[in-house]
Symmetry: C2
Subunit: 193 residues, 2 copies
Amino acid sequence: MNKRSGEESKRNIIAAAIQVFADYGYDNASMRMIAQAAGVSVGTLYLHFKNKDDLYLTITKEWIDDLNELTNRALDRIDDPRTAITVFITISIDYTREHREMILLQGRKFGRCLGLEQKQQFFRKRRQLLTDIVQRGVTEGVFRSDDPAETARIIFNVLRGFIFSMLIDEEALFRAEACVDLVLNGLRRRNNG
Amino acid sequence: MNKRSGEESKRNIIAAAIQVFADYGYDNASMRMIAQAAGVSVGTLYLHFKNKDDLYLTITKEWIDDLNELTNRALDRIDDPRTAITVFITISIDYTREHREMILLQGRKFGRCLGLEQKQQFFRKRRQLLTDIVQRGVTEGVFRSDDPAETARIIFNVLRGFIFSMLIDEEALFRAEACVDLVLNGLRRRNNG
DNA sequence: CGTTCACATGAACAAGCGTTCAGGTGAAGA
DNA sequence: TCTTCACCTGAACGCTTGTTCATGTGAACG
């Protein structure tokens, strides 16, 4: 194989690994498959990554950081709680749509799993973000909630359900607004606007 | 090993398999582990099941039938759409709580997976059940919905999110009512009852 | 030119897998 | 008592896996 820069190889491997991991799941994806998809030999994988776990964790860390930064940047200058909820949900759903393989890969390894703590920390941080938004909404009188933390957890669950459905059914073309609308307005008919 | 009835062995194996599958995931659960947990030898597994897939599919079919019957029986004589939604959600959540390992095991194999069709059919049937309830609610004027099928899908997603959170976090002690309340009433403050 | 060194290779290895099968065991019927 | 037969056993087989390592390659530098 031609000589290449180390960094380029590493990027190729990561891209290939995401694809193969997502297609076959962590366990069924073999290092040989990843190597072939990346156009390198097995040995090269171990030149850039300590082992299979390391490769997986690198990928995980990468998208967590990515989504975190994206979210923080978007929410930075938004004051209205309703807008903030909308943006939070929209970003989460868009990100899933754009990085379906990578998120799918995560779903394929939930439970007692590799990188569990960093993922839990990630979720905790995001729930905290939501709690703050709800708290602000209650203070401003636009949301109803006895317990903002509990409400945030509920919204988080709702969002997770939507994302899950996107992962299961590739064709699920629903609008993020449908999710937002349900969270904000509920199913029951309102007698006024 | 002592002589036992074939049926008893089979039940033992199924119980052990659910536990082991749930603890380790389908791929990491080996036939040797299941055999040991069931207190039989590997050979015996193949006496009662064609292979690993067959064992897994048997388990899957069992809980699908179980939950289906449970749901149908409960919804049979309920007319009020609000009560029906409440019952549907409550049953789903309770069932998950009581059969956490088995449901967890399913989650561990979603995507391109074994028994995909029967699971998809199961989900379709349940969504249809919800669609009917929503439709009735709209007709009776207690629910708002432009598209009952879409609304049912949304509720389904919400429910799935809640169930997912139960699987991830064993300690997640939330009340089914919290889920029902959000679905029915939404986050936004209502100006009237 | 020769030396160096980061990058790359793929055969080889031990371990674990799903699955098979020749054989063992003991209650039940003849 | 002997035969039958459903039930059970676990060593063995072929295969795949993650990982290692002796070896190769070629640009860069003196």
